[in-house]
């Protein structure tokens, strides 16, 4: 007995010491207080509200948000603290040693009741027409505090300024957002979120005192790419969006937890659906602190509308006499079987290829892989349809960098965040918000290195804008600067990189020497770094050169011990497709596992998207299976793809709706969206997340997994006994010990510049619009309310030179094509670069591009009316 007690005591002492140690490590002293008779110990600086929530005590709030700083505007979170004469707002009171707090005493409840009565003075009782009715904080708190009468007998205030004279005094603030200032309780949550979390200033508080109101900045619309969050966090129905406005009452809906299919970080979302109607009504966030922090970019929030649009493909289509006619699934499968067999017999060798979309779930991608490798015995398979001239080997510097581990939540703790070659708002909105959070709360240093002035650089301490196409020289320059200043001891790099001095590198890259030195100094002094590389690296033809330069930087500064560096994947399941081996030549480990699982692995030549398209032109690939992808719209050489696909004997294309690619197809199959089936997705961190089925497949569409297994069954080779068997194989592949590779020594970097052409002087960048992603979001009504047609974004100086105004059309010509697009003048772009979004099919912007070029250069001329 004595012994046992001794053990417990010693364990207790050890644990207490551990706690002390942890405190000492984190450097934050702990304080103890009593809330509602229970003791709680929290780090100093925690507010009473947070401490109470940790204990499971609910304190009602309006203006408090876990991811924003407190303002104490609504006074709803009153608590009683001993030895304080008046009630205190718990969201803005820090816990002090020995505090005794009551959260539900008589006085507190009376105080809260008075607050509600005050709020209701001018709040209209139009709950029947208000969309928030049923999920309204004010409604709930009013009900909970039994406020059933008002002593106010005067007329309620009405804000009619700027409204269109309707009874509700609604004012449209932007393409999606509608404001009703009568309902507003001035908690400032929207304005604070807009400024603090999103860095946008298009919404503000105007006037003061009794007539203070929320409004959009004069002459501006609220159309930032995070505006949907403002509606979600509004505690009353003051901000509503067109998407959900007057559609359905919230209590009639059911929620399904799912994963966003538009961003690669896999934001956690909730689908709101009505079971009888098999229809999704809206999407809200499902706060996941390690991924999305509760904020959803608009593309995630309104992107679900691609599933509910009327333009969905309804039945399979088969091309007969040059025209696509409706058919049944059986007919389509028979045609696919007959034609593929016929082609294989005629050619006598591997002549089939497949292209999957990285939006698909793991089961679909894995079954597609198995279909091609085991049934068609082909290594012509890929999932990358928008990158020019893809790398071949799995050991290239680029592929090694893509495989690097990256944790989104670690951005929070970094004291230096570098975004390199990445327009974060367009590519990785969630990571962009993390960066802002680190800047706001931890004062992290932000460095942006880009060929043009990206919008996300507004918080950057240092913005390095280099000449386009000189990314590797900038990186070399940083390495050289570090060596010259003696910040690093390692000198092995000398001779491996060109140019030889910082000054030369700076002049080559079009930046100042001081900038390079400043970056080198920042990296070497930082304790924890997040280095985010984006699409300007991964989509460049010189991706291996840039990646080598990045590796040199990695090794020189010892990133392994103090941070993370990765080229982030772009699509919902890009990472999953890579780790499932949906590449022409997967790594040896994957290949062995796959052949172990399937008992065979084809020996034919591996060809990636680019090589497959080249073989199609030579008529060596005659049958092609595209599932979910749209290479015609996204591959950076439209003519090349058109030539390839047109020479095919037989093309099967599956998609949600008719696209440029399905128009060329001999058989078109309707695909279900991600909301219509259960699936797992691997986000950019490598985290596997499950998206549940929200609605049944619409029309006659089928999930990709079903389509693929149907095809395999038609060929007499069923892939899996059941979907569980498939999931087991996927689990095995994903649980493979993934060894991230590093180059052992510094890599040689020889910059490869392209000479500018006189005739085509302006470099052109193609990327996503902040409100769109890939080829599908064009069909989302809400997203096209923001931006519905392509534009060419240019700086005011450039526009002045061309003598064009905002909205006027210009002709954009490259050596291979020309298009006409309207101009959008923006401050967020460097003077000589122009930018066109690729999300709009009708513009055919990829017809300007050439696949073997590093930079696309164009000539811009004004269209004479």
């Amino acid at each position: 007995m004595q012994g046992k007690v001794g053990v417990f005591v010693s364990i207790g002492i050890v644990m207490a010491e551990q706690v002390k140690k942890e405190q000492a490590v984190s450097g934050v002293p702990m304080v103890t207080a009593t809330i509602d008779g229970r003791e709680v110990t929290v780090p100093k600086g925690t507010t009473v509200l947070e401490a109470a929530r940790e204990m499971g005590i609910h304190i009602p709030t309006f203006c408090w948000h876990p991811k924003l700083k407190s303002v104490g505007a609504c006074r709803m979170c009153y608590v009683e603290i001993e030895r304080m004469p008046k009630l205190q707002v718990s969201c803005a009171t820090e816990v002090m040693e020995g505090m005794v707090i009551q959260t539900a005493s008589e006085q507190v409840l009376q105080g809260r009741k008075a607050v509600i009565e005050f709020i209701l003075l001018n709040h209209p009782l139009d709950c029947p027409t208000c969309d928030k009715g049923g999920e309204c904080d004010l409604q709930n708190h009013t009900f909970a505090h039994a406020v059933d009468d008002s002593r106010y007998s005067f007329k309620k205030a009405r804000y009619t300024d700027g409204t269109d004279g309707t009874t509700f005094d609604d004012k449209r603030l932007g393409p999606e957002i509608v404001l009703n200032r009568n309902r507003c309780i001035l908690c400032y949550k929207c304005v604070r979120a807009n400024k603090e979390a999103f860095g946008e200033y298009d919404l503000g508080v105007y006037e003061r005192g009794n007539i203070a109101e929320i409004n959009s900045a004069p002459g501006h619309e609220v159309d930032n790419p995070f505006s949907g969050n403002l509606v979600e966090i509004c505690p009353v129905g003051a901000l509503t969006n067109s998407d959900w406005r007057y559609k359905i009452r919230v209590w009639l809906t059911q929620t399904t937890s799912s994963i966003c299919n538009m961003t690669s970080s896999g934001s956690n979302i909730l689908f709101y659906k009505e079971k009888n109607h098999n229809k999704i009504y809206r999407v809200t966030s499902r706060m996941n602190d390690s991924i999305d922090d509760g904020w959803l970019p608009d593309v995630s929030r309104y992107g679900y509308q691609i599933a509910t649009t009327e333009e969905r493909l309804k039945t399979p289509l088969i091309k007969k006499d040059g025209k696509q006619v409706e058919a049944t699934w059986d007919e389509a499968m028979t045609v696919i079987h007959n034609r593929f067999t016929e082609i294989a017999e005629k050619k006598g060798k591997v002549c089939l290829g497949g292209l999957a979309s990285p939006y698909l779930d793991n089961d679909s991608l894995h079954s597609f892989n198995k279909l091609f490798r085991t049934v068609f015995k082909s290594n012509n398979i890929d999932f990358r349809s928008d990158y020019r001239m893809l790398p071949e080997g799995a050991d290239s510097p680029y592929e090694m960098l893509v495989d690097q581990p990256f944790t989104i939540a670690d951005i929070d703790d970094s004291d230096l965040i570098i975004s390199f070659g990445s327009d974060l708002i367009r590519e990785h909105p969630n990571e962009y918000l993390r960066m802002r959070k680190a800047y706001n709360f931890k004062r992290a240093k932000v460095v942006s290195i880009n060929p043009y002035a990206v919008k996300s650089a507004d918080i950057a301490e240092l913005e390095v804008i280099h000449s386009i196409g000189r990314a590797e020289t900038v990186l070399n320059g940083i390495c050289l600067a570090a060596m010259e200043m003696g910040l690093v001891n390692n000198q092995d790099l000398t001779g491996k990189i060109a140019p030889a001095t910082t000054a030369e590198a700076a002049s080559d890259a079009g930046v100042t020497e001081d900038d390079l030195k400043e970056v080198a100094r920042a990296i070497s002094s930082a304790k924890k770094i997040s280095f985010i590389c984006g699409e300007m690296v991964s989509r460049s033809i010189a991706r291996d050169t840039i990646a080598s330069a990045l590796w040199n930087l990695y090794l020189l500064f010892g990133f392994k011990d103090k941070g993370q560096m990765a080229i982030l994947p772009r699509y919902a399941n890009s990472r999953g497709a890579g780790s499932l081996g949906l590449l022409p030549s997967p790594s040896d480990g994957l290949r062995n596992t796959l052949s172990g699982l399937w008992g065979c692995f084809p020996e034919s030549d591996p060809n990636n998207t680019d090589a497959m398209l080249a073989l199609m032109r030579k008529e060596e690939i005659s049958g092609f299976f595209i599932i979910g992808a749209n290479p015609l719209m996204l591959y950076p050489d439209r003519q090349f793809v058109t030539d390839g696909l047109e020479r095919l004997d037989f093309l099967v294309a599956c998609d949600l709706f008719e696209t440029d690619t399905t128009e060329l197809a001999d058989v078109v199959l309707p695909l279900s969206s991600w909301a219509e089936y259960d699936g797992d997705y691997v986000n950019l961190e490598g985290k596997v997340q499950h998206a549940r089925q929200a609605i049944k497949p619409l029309y006659q569409s089928k999930p990709a997994y079903e389509i693929i297994t149907m095809v395999a069954e038609k060929f007499g080779a069923p892939l899996f006994e059941s979907i569980e068997a498939c999931r087991k194989e996927v689990d095995e592949l994903l649980s493979m010990t993934h060894s991230t590779k590093f180059p052992s020594q510094f890599l040689e970097v020889k910059p490869c510049y392209e000479d500018a052409e006189e005739e085509y002087p302006t470099p052109l960048l193609i990327c996503d619009d902040p409100h769109h992603c890939g080829h599908r979001t064009e069909k989302s009504q809400s997203l096209s309310n923001f931006v519905s047609e392509a534009y060419i974004e240019m700086s005011p100086e450039k526009a002045e030179k061309l003598a064009v105004k905002d909205g006027e059309s210009v002709r954009v010509e490259s050596p291979v094509g020309k298009i006409v697009v309207p101009v959008r003048i923006s401050d967020c772009i460097d003077n000589n670069v122009v930018l066109i979004p690729r999300n709009f099919a009708s513009t055919q912007v990829t017809s300007l591009l050439m696949r073997k070029r590093r930079l696309d250069r164009v000539k811009i001329t004004k269209v004479d009316e």
Binding site: C127, P128, T129, T166, Y246
Partner: protein
């Protein structure tokens, strides 16, 4: 002998006595009604066919808030909201399935806009089940109308629930 006299007495005394009651009723107003030519006035608290009220200017009172459907114990009400040209909320579809409705009047109680009322109409029969689904158009009162025959009922409802009389 006694029985014979009693029987004769029954015939000549009791029968005219009874027939007198019959004859008397020839001149009394009958309690039965010649339905359907004649109809009985219903109690003011009777709950019959639903109707949807309008404002004086003819706009519909219903804003499709869904409270009637939420209150309905028989799940008989189906509605789809819409936005009018003025940006107001209105009902695009408003249907009551009569075969499900139990005429409890909860919808009337729940309605915050005083839009739905259970009227006095009780004659509804049809040859097929589809006809028992009343649409908004069938239930809306006519506009303009000279006289509101159910004003009395509405007044009563207002009084019961303490609502000030807004409808004239």
């Amino acid at each position: 002998m006694k029985e014979v006299i009693k029987a004769i007495g029954n015939v000549f005394i009791s029968m005219p006595k009874g027939l007198f009651v019959t004859f008397k009723h020839l001149f009394i107003k009958p309690v039965t009604l010649d339905y359907p030519k004649q109809k009985n006035p219903m109690s003011p608290r009777y709950r019959g066919k639903h109707y949807l009220e309008r404002y004086d200017d003819g706009t519909e009172r219903c804003v499709c808030c869904g409270l009637c459907a939420a209150a309905c114990p028989a799940d008989a009400i189906y509605m789809e909201p819409d936005e009018t040209e003025k940006g107001e909320r209105c009902a695009k579809v408003y249907e009551i399935n009569l075969l499900r409705c139990i005429f409890c009047g909860f919808c009337e109680e729940a309605c915050p806009e005083e839009a739905i009322f259970l009227g006095q109409e009780y004659e509804f029969s049809a040859g097929d089940r589809d006809s028992f689904i009343w649409t908004k158009e069938e239930m809306l009162v006519q506009h303009p109308r000279k006289d509101n025959p159910l004003k009395r009922v509405i007044r009563r409802v207002r009084k019961v629930y303490g609502v000030t009389d807004k409808v004239k």
